[in-house]
Symmetry: C2
Subunit: 306 residues, 2 copies
Amino acid sequence: MNVVTGPETLLAGDMARIQRAIDTSFDALLPEAGDSRVRLAEAMRYAAIGGGKRLRPLLLSATATLHGVGFESAVRAGTAIEAVHVYSLIHDDLPCMDDDAMRHGKPTLHRAFDEATAVLAGDALQTFAFEVLADPATSSDPFVRIELVRTLAGATGASGMVLGQMMDIAAEAAQESGQFDLPTVTRLQQFKTGALLEAAVEMGAILAHLPPEGRTHLRGYARAIGLAFQIADDLLDAEGDEAAAGKALRKDAEAGKQTFVSLLGAERARAQAAMLVDQAVLHLERYGPEADTLRALARFIVERKH
Amino acid sequence: MNVVTGPETLLAGDMARIQRAIDTSFDALLPEAGDSRVRLAEAMRYAAIGGGKRLRPLLLSATATLHGVGFESAVRAGTAIEAVHVYSLIHDDLPCMDDDAMRHGKPTLHRAFDEATAVLAGDALQTFAFEVLADPATSSDPFVRIELVRTLAGATGASGMVLGQMMDIAAEAAQESGQFDLPTVTRLQQFKTGALLEAAVEMGAILAHLPPEGRTHLRGYARAIGLAFQIADDLLDAEGDEAAAGKALRKDAEAGKQTFVSLLGAERARAQAAMLVDQAVLHLERYGPEADTLRALARFIVERKH
């Protein structure tokens, strides 16, 4: 009997494959536990291996393989972008930041180890990301490698992810002043989450040697799913299941923080996310079924339960 | 009247020049304070501008210009390595690490701002370092840029600087077990401080397109001054002047921590440092007076008062 597999089945397979590949890659590339390195290596491995949806590596590899890049090469670049994502979660969870106790269904790193180790393991994971990208094993072309470094650094520093986190802290402090309207929240989320999701797609295009002028449709796709992702995140925080999420929810409401849900209401937020997914898929109209993973990923981003 | 200027005068001039150049470069390259970016940009600038000896940029630029590299290019790479040094100081000073109140004669970043801002400003300064190196303005040759990234990342992550900091924390915890003998302390310091000083020299050689086999003498020089630097640091911590240092001293003895001074005694530590400086200078014997800055720097490293 022939089973017709739709994009969702395809995505499940692709997602399981990238999750295994990223775990294997972290396991091979992260420092081995041994003598005095034990604790640092263990902490990096605890945080990096065996958790997370690996959405950024999947976005990267789906974009890269769509344009003929080998899976191995995409996994190395995906390991780098995921290392940055993991480092940002470790630091966000710290007592002086969000003070979270659970992440991916297990104690956060500073709870399982200690605060100093969590700061240092996060620092080392950021460095690790750039070390992996700079290694010739990622690409034999030094121009490709340096463009990967430049894109990842540009998306994650003081003009990207870290700025978004900083604005998020300011948002909690300034909530009562009413300054946080929809454009401000959109901008904050664009820095905090969108920039790295866009970098994932961009890095896939760089690996594929796509010229910048040939990336416009991919950037449109990435921009749309980045915003959809954050709206879905706010909906999950408001309505989701803590056990499925593996972390504490309802934190935004408790903190009185402005989100897409508080500003738009759940119904309009849901409609907005659905519209963004349609837009994302439209940006892919030049491709046939070979882009079904990217299409399914766009839908998954708003339909996910964790 | 002709004044004969010796290497020390030369060094003073070179040092003042690189200090001005690094401040100017940070000022030009770090994000501007503006709207919601104010606090993050201000924190990065507070920590990065107007403090520190800029030893690593001076080592890098002295090595690079000795081999014909322009000063501007050396300053950009020097800005990157100094950004990593600054980020490591910010995180080392955090309450969960060394809990220091003063740095370069002013309150540490988490005291002047807050802990979350200090974590994020440190994170963003690390990213900034790789962003500066990846920019074509640092070198028009992508291979040079990616080798700079690779060298800096290799020296500062889980096999370098951060590992050294982690071992340092373990050293404080394990002091009573008597495990910290001279080889262990030497290895710890090699990771914590030596690796970045060596990277400074290596990055200068990369900018100059020196082939790896032509760098052996420079690596010998860098290795010797790296160890001499740390012995001198331990001597300063034991015997130095807090006002000149701009930070708290006597911390090692108070923590009961093993150092070169506690293990060797001050006299033998001083003799060991002097011998290392002689070795460093010997590695430069192929050069004439054009290497006097590197020679003077080797002497400065053990004779400095802060």
